[in-house]
């Protein structure tokens, strides 16, 4: 679902600035839930960002990344209209992906 991943990509002065927000609990596996049980670890392990099909960033995350991981970076080049594609996989094997166009 694209809602799980929000992408903002803006091209300016030869560079494309990208901001990705991935909604995810990033549970550490150390928190006690309201039922008194430990909430199992549940966190994104890898996130990949491509622009027009080319990988522009890959992030490997631990439980020490904050809830709803936010990543911002920039790369040289990029053309308005190009597609930024983000996918992530988590420690439970769940995946999500989203796309956004460079403006």
């Amino acid at each position: 679902m694209s809602d799980q991943i929000r992408i903002r990509a803006r091209h300016r002065k030869g560079e494309t600035k990208v901001m990705v927000l991935a909604l995810h609990p990033m549970e550490t596996g150390m928190r006690t839930g309201t039922d008194g049980d430990i909430v199992p670890a549940h966190y994104i392990t890898k996130m990949t960002v491509t622009a027009a099909g080319r990988v522009v960033l890959e992030a490997r995350m631990s439980i020490a990344v904050a809830k709803d991981p936010l990543v911002s970076f920039r790369f040289r080049g990029g053309t308005p209209g190009d597609e930024i594609h983000v996918t992530w996989v988590d420690n439970r094997g769940q995946q999500a992906s989203g796309t956004g166009a460079i403006v």
Binding site: T32, I38, E58, R60, S62, I63, V65, R74, F75, R76
Partner: protein, 166 residues
């Protein structure tokens, strides 16, 4: 007041972790909301080297797993808030004015799993990144950069009022 022991049960592994003693200002009240920034669980699909680094439970071990001792560099800028009210969400930015940067890592000495995140930087991507991490308590945060095959690092002291680890 020092938090000494944290016993983690459940998840994929069970271990006892002794939190390093740190100078911490601990305020009551919002502990329940703080997320644990520590832990020993790791199922990170990455190179074998990096996987070991993510499983390291001490900063030195994590560094060793990443490679040779990084050289201190003044060309890496690591930014953190001066005062961190809540260790659950700490914005950090890393900028490296080095050639041929291929990877950027963020490590927090006070987290039982010190390696928080590792970024692969393909050619064309500017080695200037921002993200948000959890910090267990006050202590040193490091940015380690792989550039031209060598490791470099810089560090900042973080003051955390309410740790991200309960």
């Amino acid at each position: 007041m020092n938090r000494r022991d944290l016993v983690q049960v459940g998840g994929e592994s069970a271990s006892a972790v002794v939190m390093p003693q740190r100078r911490e200002l601990v305020l009551g009240g919002t502990f329940g909301l703080a997320m644990a920034a520590c832990g020993l669980l790791s199922a990170v699909p990455a190179t074998a080297t990096e996987r070991l680094a993510f499983e390291a439970t001490s900063f030195d071990e994590a560094l060793r797993a990443l490679g040779a001792e990084p050289a201190a560099s003044t060309r890496i800028v690591l930014d953190l808030p001066a005062r961190i009210e809540d260790g659950a969400v700490v914005p950090v930015t890393i900028r490296a004015d080095l050639d041929e940067v291929t990877a950027v890592y963020v490590l927090a000495e006070t987290n039982p799993v010190p390696l928080a995140v590792g970024f692969d930087i393909p050619p064309g991507t500017v080695p200037a990144l921002g993200t948000r991490i959890k910090l267990n308590g006050s202590g040193v945060v490091h940015a380690v950069v792989r550039a031209g095959g060598q490791l470099y690092r810089t560090s900042r002291e973080a003051m955390v009022l309410v740790g991200g680890c309960t």
